[in-house]
């Protein structure tokens, strides 16, 4: 009986210790880590090449007219580069008006597995909301959606850069 209790307590304690080490390391880094630090850089260059092609649809006119951004009052839509995460790319599109983000949406995010669908169906709306209210890329990660949050922030930042915000 003593052995049983020892096994249960030992396992539980071990789990708590392991998990709290991981928790500790995050609170130090206020912003969520970008999915994979290397890929956001590489996908930045390759993504920029592909973005005009990708955005040649509805948002191309506004995206292309990013240089005359000084026209006040005109809303424009900018699509960020796709940021790769281990579960798939995340790509954010924002609408900017008067130097403020008025709308944000993910045009691409991982939906490959039921788990991705479950998590992102909750996380993406939250991230969109955060992007609008912050008008910057310093937004909180959604718990449980660390990778998506990381990719979202990376792509959002590139969209903000393009919109010269």
């Amino acid at each position: 009986m003593r052995r049983v209790i020892l096994a249960i307590v030992g396992t539980a304690a071990g789990l708590v210790v392991l998990l709290s080490f991981k928790t500790h390391s995050t609170s130090a880094a206020a912003t969520p880590p970008a999915a994979i630090s290397g890929t956001s850089g590489t996908s930045g260059t390759s993504g920029q090449a592909s973005t005009p092609a990708g955005s040649s649809g509805g948002s191309s006119s506004s995206s292309a007219s990013s240089s005359p951004s000084s026209i006040a009052g005109a809303a424009k839509t900018v699509t960020g580069t796709a940021a790769d995460t281990i579960y798939g790319p995340v790509q954010v599109q924002i609408t900017v008006k008067n130097g403020k983000v008025t709308a944000a949406q993910a045009v691409q995010y991982p939906q490959g597995s039921p788990r991705d669908q479950q998590i992102n169906s909750y996380a993406i709306p939250v991230l969109n909301q955060e992007a609008v209210s912050a008008s910057s890329a310093s937004i909180d990660a959604v718990s449980g959606a660390t990778y998506t949050s990381g990719g979202y922030v990376t792509s959002l930042q590139s969209a903000l850069d393009k919109a010269a915000l």
Binding site: T23, S113, P114
Partner: protein
């Protein structure tokens, strides 16, 4: 209570020497044996590797959902690893069988099995809860989503339920509420359970979905253990059957409900069986062929002949009395670590309880010892239960060994006849003996406790008990 110790032969050495000369210390290089400590270290290292895999792949944890999910992943990883270890322990790997012993392996297996079943259940609960928190849904709807839309999770859940079922059946079997044979066959469902649960690890397991090396390593681990099971539990017995062609030579009644079966075969010396070891026997007779049971050799293996002695404890052992000479026999083995290889002291005490006399009888004949260095204490509840009386007395005389019969029910004796004080009084220099104990589980653990009290070092106590 001195009077219930009946000394059966004098300590005086016979003038014409002895059967084997005393050669204490490690036995000459025999078949490979793995030390129990080595086995435990390897198991622990593997568990650590599984934890490191998680550590390496987990970026950081935010919030309750992540906490629960990661706790679920860790328990899942450890359960997936535990299952492999449990099967490997039962794979009849010869170095483990000879170095650790089937009895100890079975105890580890039972202990680890309970632990692993708990891990499996915890894993399922934590993952469901954690996913529900992250996805902001209820537990029930999350469980439903997991079962219905997550690949292979339904299958894994069926596997987990089988694990729990087998765990419960083992607990019942241990309490003797289930027949040995039923339990034995129920245990085969664990293979099905492992097969069912395997694929979900790669399909939805966070540690494996994204890492090919992890998948290769984990898959390799399962494949190796599966290969070991196939080889040592199926191929080797089939080869042995073809090579040795064993048959029953004779059946002899030793005492009420106790029979000896002599089995003959070809090339038996190639098996390298030792005194103190056992085989798993399968007698190809009506009502017997479908189960294999472990019985110790009750005499040292001779060229072309093996002898076992069986007490009717279950249905199977009861039917052995009706075996006919010529019946074909399949034997798996030899197994068991209770051999002369355990020996490290000059003097040896053998303690047998009931039908636990069988391996002791074989050791009593072949353990290297000078006259006066070897003692056998044979504990039996009733005079009628004592078997091999003549053989043992003859051996004792020939080897100059001491032989005690300690007969009577404990309640009638009024006191433990194998207490620390009695043992110390009867066996001079008890703490300088290697002590081999074999008997029913309760008796074995009681004797070990008394021996420890009497100052015998744990390393010098070697035991086996015939549970299943």
């Amino acid at each position: 209570m001195r009077h219930n110790w009946i000394m059966s032969s004098t300590t005086m050495a016979p003038r014409h020497g002895y059967l084997a000369t005393g050669a204490p210390g490690p036995s000459p290089a025999g078949p490979p044996r793995t030390q129990p400590a080595t086995v435990l270290t390897v198991i622990a290292a593997g568990a650590l590797a599984a934890i490191l895999l998680w550590w390496h792949q987990t970026p950081s944890i935010h919030g309750l959902g992540d906490w629960l999910t990661n706790a679920g992943r860790l328990t899942g990883l450890l359960a997936g690893y535990g299952v492999v270890v449990l099967v490997a322990l039962m794979a009849r790997l010869p170095p483990l069988e000879r170095g650790v012993g089937a009895d100890q392996l079975a105890r580890w297996h039972a202990m680890g099995g309970r632990y692993t079943v708990c891990l499996v259940v915890t894993h399922a609960l934590l993952i469901t809860w954690g996913y529900a928190v992250t996805a902001h849904t209820g537990i029930i709807s999350q469980a439903n989503a997991l079962l219905m839309s997550y690949p292979d999770v339904l299958m894994a859940t069926v596997g987990a339920l089988l694990f729990v079922g087998v765990g419960i059946s083992s607990a019942r079997a241990a309490r003797r509420r289930l027949r040995y044979e039923t339990w034995y066959y129920l245990h085969f469902y664990t293979y099905l359970a492992i097969a069912l649960a395997f694929s979900h690890q790669f399909a939805v397991g966070a540690q494996f979905m994204t890492s090919l090396p992890a998948r290769v390593f984990w898959g390799g681990l399962y494949a190796c253990v599966a290969a070991a099971i196939l080889w040592y539990r199926f191929v080797t017995p089939a080869r042995q059957a073809a090579r040795h062609r064993m048959r029953v030579i004779s059946v002899r009644r030793e005492a009420p409900g106790v029979v000896s079966v002599v089995i003959g075969g070809r090339h038996l010396q190639e098996l390298r069986a030792e005194s103190g070891q056992f085989f798993r026997w399968r007698f190809l007779a009506r009502g017997l062929w479908w189960v294999s049971s472990p019985y110790s050799l009750s005499a040292p293996p001779e060229p072309g002949r093996l002898r076992i002695t069986v007490k009717a404890l279950g249905e199977h052992s009861h039917a052995l009395a009706r075996l006919r000479p010529g019946t074909r026999v399949l034997a798996e083995g030899p197994y068991g670590a209770l051999t002369s290889a355990m020996r490290s002291q000059r003097r040896v005490l053998l303690i047998a309880g009931g039908v636990g006399i069988t391996p002791m009888r074989a050791l009593f004949q072949t353990l290297p010892a000078r006259p006066g260095d070897l003692t056998l204490v044979y504990r039996a509840s009733e005079p009628g239960d004592v078997v091999f009386r003549d053989e043992l007395e003859r051996l004792a005389r020939a080897r100059g060994a001491r032989l005690f019969f300690v007969v009577g029910r404990r309640a009638d004796l009024g006191q433990d006849p194998l207490s620390a004080a009695t043992l110390r009084a009867r066996i001079p220099g008890l703490d300088q003996h290697d002590v081999y104990v074999c008997g029913p589980a309760g008796m074995t653990s009681a004797v070990i406790r008394e021996l420890r009290t009497a100052g015998v070092h744990r390393r010098h106590i070697h035991h086996e008990s015939f549970e299943f």
